[in-house]
Symmetry: C2
Subunit: 356 residues, 2 copies
């Protein structure tokens, strides 16, 4: 911990009130939060505070102009009580890329890691060991300057909050390929974890849910001929023994689970093609039986197998292969993440034990 981090501890933990065997995702938060204010052109002394409400002026720019970005990360505890994260530097770099695109200031790396490590040490009892447990970590940045004029704010808050999580079982996931609504434009902010990207997806996703689908797989806004991502997950397709996924661009999030899976799959000798994926080739592969699997990849669920998809009212069911890549890769990745397997890639980050 640097001497530039100010810590105010809670007087009494609320952990006893929490039923860890029955947690709704992202609704129960730990005792502390990390907050760092930006003003006068600089990040001020970061603080760890008891988790609690923010006082916001009704004219705060985040409410009006949507300057808000976030990240999603997880921490795991092994049976020795050691705490691990997965490639946190990638999240740090990405939140700054998101911020840059929204005209928000880059955060300080030492503040980020000192704050995160101290927070995880203070709230370490909230991280439970065991396969089905993790701590979901949500760093985010919001524009706090007051005033309803449409220009970048000069004041922000960088905040980290943490929510204990159980294994995310997404159930049977059926998806709809978008052929009318779009998630992002060329030259837009689709690659950023910008708050507005999510609100924009809710309505078309609700329409899809009414028809019995869990998610929309977005296609390019120009032609709807290329498959992009699912909004909260990148998407992989297995055609025969080849894994396909779209390349990242300014419309598609550069997912950390996505790129880790590409590397992991390649290391197993799986043929991976990162290239534009046509809707028509996936439909054709489903029709001729060469489409073996489809799955989403993201921090929350790691891998979500997709059981079927619909494109322009044509429904397709996917087989459930016994040797599914999704099952194998998910097991390998989660074991690596939680220190139950070797880490030949150097992806695991051990949270240092600190006096707090």
């Amino acid at each position: 911990m640097t001497d530039t981090l100010k810590v105010t501890k809670i007087s009494k933990s609320k952990i006893d009130q929490v039923d860890f065997s029955n947690l709704a995702f992202g609704t129960v938060f730990t005792d502390h939060m990390f907050v760092c204010e930006y003003k006068n052109g600089a990040w001020q002394t970061p603080e760890i505070l008891p988790y609690g409400p923010l006082q916001m002026d009704p004219s705060a720019k985040v409410f009006h102009y949507g300057q808000a970005v976030f990240e999603g990360m997880k921490a795991y505890k092994d049976d020795n009580g050691d705490v691990f994260m997965f490639r946190p530097e990638e999240n740090f770099n990405r939140i700054n890329k998101s911020s840059e695109r929204l005209a928000m200031p880059a955060f300080d790396k030492a503040y980020f890691f000192d704050g995160l490590n101290t927070l995880l040490n203070l709230d370490k009892d909230w991280i439970k060991p065991g396969e089905s447990n993790s701590l979901y970590i949500r760093p985010f940045v919001i524009a706090t300057e007051n005033g309803v004029s449409a220009s970048p704010a000069t004041e922000y808050k960088f905040i980290i909050i943490c929510a204990p999580a159980q294994a995310y079982y997404s159930g049977e996931v059926r998806v709809l390929f978008a052929d009318h609504y779009s998630r992002s434009a060329d030259g837009g902010v689709g690659f950023a974890k910008a708050a507005g990207n999510y609100a924009a997806q809710f309505y078309p996703t609700e329409l899809a849910k009414e028809k019995g689908y869990n998610q929309v797989v977005w296609t390019d806004a120009n032609t709807h001929e290329y498959l992009e991502e699912a909004g909260t997950m990148n998407v992989f397709f297995r055609v025969n023994d080849t894994l396909l996924t779209a390349p990242t661009n300014d419309r598609i999030l550069d997912g950390i689970t996505r790129k880790s899976l590409i590397e992991l799959a390649k290391s197993q000798g799986i043929n991976v093609e990162v290239r534009p994926v046509r809707v028509s080739e996936i439909v054709e592969a489903a029709e001729n039986g060469s489409l073996k699997e489809m799955f989403g990849a993201g921090t929350a669920a790691v891998i979500s197998p997709i059981s079927g998809f619909t494109h322009k009212d044509k429904q397709f069911d996917l087989p459930k292969p016994e040797d599914a890549y999704s099952t194998k890769l998910k097991k390998q990745l989660t074991e690596l993440q939680a220190n139950r397997a070797e880490d030949p890639f150097g992806w695991r980050y051990e949270v240092p034990v600190l006096e707090v």
Copy 2:
């Protein structure tokens, strides 16, 4: 005022602390605000409260998923002390269209107008008569439900805040035609006054500002061949004696000033063409001298004349015609708005005098 509006008045007005001759736009707010909460599937009893901060949980969905929409309106006081608004029903309808696209609940019309009228009566001393004065009114809706899971919130706040404003002099406005960045996608949320649309424009607009431009005129994301809008204004082009403006679609805001100007210009016998406007035809018209004017239209500035534009490093200066449509239409519209001229269109709305 209906009996369903709960009013809590301030004990002492802060109006004496305000220098009305020196107001930065959107930074000073009146004594009261209107707040209505949505929960359990319904809008609760609306309230007028002293203007003050909101208590927000750090996990409130607006901070993470950008469910936030807004409107901009103005109130004017004539020399008799009567207060007028301009087509407020259009703003009411539009905020609900914006909300629908972001999977947010529609607001109640009686709550809106009762709240607005009561608020304007309570804070009527903040509306100054005279040509250069108005009250800027900002209705907005934010997702207040706690929890970091990416789905539409079940709790919201509909809020109205008001800021006294002086005539908005935008100065010499030079614009850049977008040829790389984009504002919105087909099938996206560009037509909505969604908070995220504004954050997405800030970075490219800052880049343009560094090069000496005040605003970006957005083009279609697919080809950058068609002129769309300027993000906070719709855009009009006068070629010889014809006014051109792009049709609204799901990428372009259906501006109330825009549609009023179209009707007003037509009523004066001006030829108005609402059709896709090619970048190439405007460049050509600038080159051959037939481009007489270009201006932005929006609530804040009503009309902002544009003095020049740049497309792909080619700069064009616009003439300053003595009989400019922009000057004439702005004068007519502002006089109609402030009850200094007849209103053949029925656009003006007189705020009823209420016992408050």
